[in-house]
Every structure is written in C-alpha cells, then in structure tokens.
Amino acid sequence: MRSGELLSSAIRYATVMCVPSVFLAVVGLSACKTTPPAADRQGQLIAKGRDLFFNETFAGNGRTCGTCHPAENNFTIDPAFIATLPKDNPLFVAEFNPDLKENFENPALMREFGLILENLDGFDDLKNQFVMRGVPHTLGLRTSVNSPGGPRTGWSGDGAPGDGSLRSFAVGAVIQHFTKTLNRVPDVDFRLPTGEELDALEAIQLSLGRQQDLALPLRLRGTVPKRGQEIFLDNTLGKCNRCHVNAGATANFGGGSLGNANFNTGVEDLPDQPARLTGKVVPRDDGFRTPGDGTFNVPPLVEAADTGPFFHNNAIETIEGAVAFYDGEAFNKSPAGRALAAADPRGVGIELDGTQIVAVAAFLRVINVLENIRQSIMLLEASLAASSSEEKRRLLQAARRETEDSTRVLEGGGLHPDAVAHLQEARRLAEKAVRRVFFSRKHTEEAIREQKKARALLVE
C-alpha cells in the first residue's frame, strides 16, 4: 500500500527526528495498519481534511477553501499570484457568473490589491454594507487561534458562526464565499459542511505550518537582523514583543500570556490607503463584532515576510512598510498606541528611525526564512520516504517553492547573500530531483545539505 508505506516511513522518521505530528499533515498521508491507532486516526482525518480543503466545492459556485488559501502561495493570495490565474478560476466567479456580478466581490480591487468582499456587518444592504479584506494565511493556526476571550478567527477574530471556533469557520466561509446566488439558501446555493467534514477541515488547518512558538532570542548571525531582534524584544524601544510574544500572535504585558488578542492599532486611519485611492467605495472596517469596536486580531509574525501585503486591508505592500506603520501617526494616535505611550517612561508609543525599522524587518525576514528552511528540509526528507513518484514530485515541488520564498525574502532585504547562494543551489538540486529518475535521492540529499548550510549562516 503506497500511502501506508509512506506513512510508515514518515512515522519512523518523525520518531527518530522528533518531527512534530504536523509532519504527517504536510505530506498529506493516509492510513496504515502498522501505525498506532491515534496517529492513524489523526493521519486519516488530516488527509480527509486536505482533500476537502482543496477539492470540495460544497455544491456552490466552484470555489474551494484552497481557492483563496492555495498551498502553492503560502495559503494566501496576493495580486502577483492572482495575476497568474486563468480567467475562469473560481476566484473570479463574480466576473463570469451573472448571479454574482453585483455585490459579491469587487473584481477590480481583487485583482489590483488582493481584496475580498465580506459582509461582516450584515446582508441587508449589500450595496453599501461590506468591508474589503485581504486573505490571511492559515499557517501556524495552532499557535494563534486560542484566546482567553474565546477562539479568534479571521482578521477581526469573529470570523466563524456558531460557537466561533476554527471548526465552525468553514460554515461561515461557505455561506459568504461559496454561494451560487446572493439568496444564500442551503441545499440550493451550497450545502453546509457536515460535522465530520468540519472535524477534518479543522484538523488540516491546525496541522499547517508551525506547531509551536519560537523561543526568542535566537543566536542570529548577521549584524542587522541581530540588532533587529534586540529592538523587537526591547520593551522600551520596539515594544513588538508585547503583542507578538516570540514573534507569534499572543500578547503578554508582564502578567502572563493573554493568548491571542484584539487591538485597535489605527490601521483604518492610515492616509492614502491603496484601495481608497482608486476612488471606489471602500467602507470603513469597524473590526470585531457588529457594530464593531475597531479592533483587529494579532497575526503571527514568523510567517509575515513572505505572506504580504500586510494588515487586514492589504494597506501596505512591504514588510519594511509594515514595521514603519508602528512609527507613524495612525498607530501612535490609536488606542493601542496611546496605551503603549502611557506605559512608557518618556510617554512615547513607538518611535523608530529608518535604520531601526529596516533592522526589525531584517529580523522578521530571517525568522521567516528559518521557518521556510525547516519546512523545506522536512519536505525533502519526506520525499525520500515517498514510494509514489507523484507524491515525491509534489513534496519536492513544495520544497522548491519554499526555497524560492526563502531566496526572495532574503534578497528583498539585501540579507545574507552567502546563504542565498546555498538556497539557490538547494532549489536547483530539488528541481533536478524532480526531473531525474536516477540520482533523484542523491540530488535530494544534496539539497538538504545546502539548506542546512544556508541555515548555519543565519543562526548559530
């Protein structure tokens, strides 16, 4: 049994190398008689969830979860990715389904800024009552969804109907995004996911990406990223670690972890927001609840550098710009900025100069690449255990994409050219391993070595 052999190899590897259970999910495995029952059940559930996530349309307009959260683009979409899609991709359903032509999406804002229309404040006035939001990635959800205030999903933390949990999120997504018409009638315009499907979709989502937070500080190499980490952790200077503990999505103001939280950081008050510059109607997004309180959910930062644009409205394109936002007036006049200032001996919120902004961004770039390298090595090693050539190719191609991201993220910040050279070689070797029948293992093993060399140049 091919998948069974693959699972056996995966579990053997996971046991030896202490790879977290998410490994099983990432490689998309199914059952095997020799596995322990719990792991077997979880593996099956994740495999089922993966199939649903990428293939199930729920009898709707053709979209799947993967339409907006594609694996090949870090489970998010951006204008560059959107530009590669064919015209008949279901993402563009509002452009070719007459029933969804009005008040379902704004195709121009989708294509130019990657924005999706959401009726977070109700469906009674579709023409005027909506918000335009970017698509958050679904990586590291195990570290970010939980909160003492209840589960937080989506940009404002209230994305799911029912009990508001990640498990329930898919129901709201189907109603909002999968419908054939704006009537949104179950079993006419879509079907609602069953309880078993919700379990499986929750399992796949929780399995994606990191399963635990970093433990900062890391022993980084490179003068600028190292300084960036210091600023990030300095509660009198960068203050980033207060709301993004260990560059994750939980807050801690000194009294212990508050879990995943919501803040009003003033993003909606930014001047010259790209979508509004077009002259199109973009109503103010009031965030959490209806009517909203202006707060939005804290996203994890480890995955940030290769998942832009940034903030709930895709207002800022670059990671440097996103860090610079916290030095600006919109943030420092916001409730969150004012609270930080009140806690500061000098009475300032966040005040960083250009070099410091770039340093923090460099740090974020490096930790993103370290995570990509971790994923790449995991994928490459899993490919060595894959008995199906199709699965092997899928894993190698995923590793190649992660490596391309790593290269792009480092080059974009002018960082670690020596590591970039190793990553480029790792990418070339992974590509060769995909193409070649013979020596594929050799190329894969060499690619792993190159990844490790790159990592050694980023961190001790």
Partner: protein
C-alpha cells in the same frame, strides 16, 4: 512617572483586551443563513430548540417549550430575529417580534454561553417557516 504610568498603561492595554465581551466571538451575520438546529458547536448545546408557547408583546418575552426544558426568552433591541425559510428553499429574512407566534418552531440562543440558565435576554432567535403564509 514610571510605576504610575506603567500601571496606567498596563491597565489601558488590559482594558483594550478585556473591555469586549469574553464569550466566543461568532460571526453572527452568516448565522442568519444556517437552518434551525444546524449551528455548529451551538445547536442543542447552548441553544434551546422548541415551540413557542406564549408571547408577551408588552414585556417582549417569549415562552418556549423544548423537548427537555422550557425557557423564557427576553427580546431586547439587540436580539436578532431571523426567519428560516430554508425548508421552502427560499432565502432567510430578518424578522420582528410579531413573527414570533405560538406554535412556531424556534431556536433561541441566550446571550453569552450560559449553561443551565432558562430565562434571560436572547442573542438571536431563528423562526422556522415551513409553509407559505
């Protein structure tokens, strides 16, 4: 400043965090389109499903008899009333207190996640419409 300001700041940040409701943060707007009894994680666990026994327009209350318990729901200005027409394969609509009629099957969610509380304000009420008026 130092200690005083720090305390103010921490309290301020805490208020930002805790000022909002602590119940799970559901997207109530898509809830409207979920048929009676199918709300994930809520139906039958945190909601009451039953038939309306009586209504009191003056007090804005509704008495509901469920299969296992009865409940007296208070309709406030915040309570959302939805007409679940999914059995008719029609879109669900917003309703009003006058749509709450004795004999109608309803699902009521109390404000917050209150287990074992059988009276109080309702967060939302879904009224199942099974035949055209």
């Amino acid at each position: 400043m130092t200690v005083g300001k720090f305390v103010v700041g921490v309290v301020g940040m805490s208020a930002l965090l805790w000022g909002g409701p602590l119940a799970a943060s559901a997207h109530e707007m898509t809830e409207r389109y979920i048929p009676v009894g199918q709300s994930p994680g809520l139906s039958g666990k945190y909601t009451v499903i039953g038939k309306i026994q009586t209504t009191n327009a003056r007090d804005q209350t509704v008495a509901i008899v469920g299969t296992t318990r009865s409940w007296s729901a208070k309709v406030t200005e915040k309570t959302k009333i939805w007409l679940d027409r999914s059995k008719l394969r029609l879109t669900n609509l917003k309703g009003t207190f006058s749509d709450l009629r004795p004999g109608a099957t309803v699902e009521v969610k109390p404000e917050g996640h209150l287990r074992g509380v059988f009276s109080g304000p309702a967060e939302w009420i879904k009224v199942q419409i099974s035949a055209s008026p």
